[in-house]
Symmetry: C2
Subunit: 309 residues, 2 copies
């Protein structure tokens, strides 16, 4: 492609995967990352790295010298549970950051902005196979910041920046952080299974989620990059399949040789009981569809994790 | 009543009116105001005044010594147009402030939180007599911050703080700022008519709004204070009547003796074309209804303004 992209959060799971993919396709990639949960070693070789916060004007203004073909804003605190620790920080990392980056896009004449939003914007929904037009009732501060960012995108669209928000459901796969036991449902359970031979589940086993494999998510970002709609768009990025926590765990364990003890207790703040998504809008409008089912995706991830934990 | 209330923004139009009303009924009132658009002289006598921003932790923590019966959070930048000047400041004044005050409520065991939200959360709506369940599409950064705050209220409700958000439509009446020509549609036109004998309208004369008199708004705050629903509630506070800009102006002028030149030009950023509200929910659930029609309200306001400009 030979273009220049800003991918914020390239020390994290999704950001580093996307940055690597773009670099491997001959593009130039710049990133901002504060390394609060990501690792400098995870930033792909060749990526220009600015260490700091995307909500920090002094960091973002350093990027005014670039001419980005698109901005992928992926950085941000990404756990509903953790957002209860410091809601003000969460607002800054997840909403103020977006404002500054949209302003950067406007100032540098960047015409494309793709945002990593989340299924956490929905909260609990009566119709759980949720589509994009559902009324939003986030249960965590994290979800609130993401909603604010989506609105900012819609406002900036009127300045001629084509903006797309991808509401990512539970993303999993190789590259997910295996050290952080408060972020990423699949990685948490898998890490516990491999390291401790014991999985502690905070919450009910009948809760359900929609798991989507990292490579499918990267494909969604690329489809969004080629999105030609001259209006703000929001898409669910999900499998459309509901999987209970109990079934997720047994699928993980089917890939592991040793015995694993499973315990259920308590719950976490702001946790959604159950949600899964309707992905027909992104299928129809961008021609995206998930290619990895949970069985294949988990097999890949467990194989990777055994060698990387 | 003999209670203690925090009313943020008591140097402003709505905050000072509410604070005066509460003081006159025998209550103790504390306020935080940054005097950015309000005036210290507007703060009613007897109100305990903390000068600063509600998004400033060092200010808010000074209030931890009080035991408030309720917090009325009214302070905040309140113009859609002005929110385009500095969207980051707008987010802080309108959303971060709410987080800090909700935290204060939790810490000091205050069980009631009433929030001044806005019709700006709606943006343009196909069904213009909008009700509270409409999908929100704010057109200004101001509206986005207010939406974030509403979500925060819903999240804090689960901690046992009864939270109500009042979506105020175009509030007008005696006490509105006659010096600030960027904030408050009725006060802007009235000031121009009285001072310059010339009204410059930024935008189309066929735009329409829902005007609600200050005394009706104060009554809505009092009804919200007595709201016994143990769940987060959002209500439109509006007349339910659509008035075009052209009709508003001729109603204002019918109260003025001298001739006034009217000119139309341009528009302002983030302006909604037309909106008016359905107020049946607050009528049914809180027994509130507007008592002042536009004719009576404007007459009162013009009489006041002539003596106070």
């Amino acid at each position: 492609m030979d273009k220049t992209f800003l991918v914020t959060g390239a020390a994290g799971f999704i950001g580093s995967s996307l940055a690597r993919n773009l670099i491997n396709n001959g593009n130039k990639v710049i990133t901002i990352d504060n390394l609060s949960t990501g690792y400098e070693t995870a930033i792909p070789e060749g990526v220009g790295f600015y260490k700091g916060n995307c909500q920090d004007y002094n960091i973002v203004k350093q990027l005014e010298k670039y001419s980005f073909d698109a901005i992928f804003h992926i950085a941000g605190q990404s756990s509903g549970e953790i957002s209860f620790d410091d809601p003000v920080y969460d607002l800054q990392t997840n909403a103020q950051s977006t404002l500054l980056l949209l302003k950067l896009a406007l100032k540098t004449n960047c015409k494309k902005f793709i945002y990593a939003s989340t299924m956490s914007v929905y909260g609990d929904q009566l119709d759980t196979k949720v589509n994009e037009s559902a009324i939003l009732k986030p249960k965590s501060f994290y979800g609130v910041g993401k909603i604010a960012s989506e609105h900012y995108l819609r406002i900036y669209q009127q300045y001629g920046i084509d903006c797309t928000a991808l509401r990512l459901f539970n993303v999993y796969g190789p590259g997910q952080n295996l050290q952080n036991l408060r972020q990423g449902m699949v990685s948490i359970f898998l890490t516990m299974a491999l390291k401790d031979k014991r999985i502690l589940v905070k919450g009910d086993k009948n809760r359900f989620r929609d798991f989507i494999y990292i490579d499918d998510v990267l494909e969604a970002f690329k489809k969004a990059l080629n999105n030609k709609f001259p209006e703000f768009k929001v898409y669910n990025v999900c499998s459309g399949i509901s999987t209970t926590i109990e079934n997720l765990i047994s699928s993980i364990l089917s890939n592991i040789d040793h015995k694993v003890l499973i315990e259920y207790s308590g719950s976490t703040l702001g946790d959604q009981f159950g949600i899964y998504g309707n992905n027909s809008l992104i299928q129809e409008e961008l021609g995206w569809e998930p290619k990895y089912n949970l069985e294949v995706g988990l097999k890949n991830m467990v194989n990777w994790a055994i060698n990387n934990i």
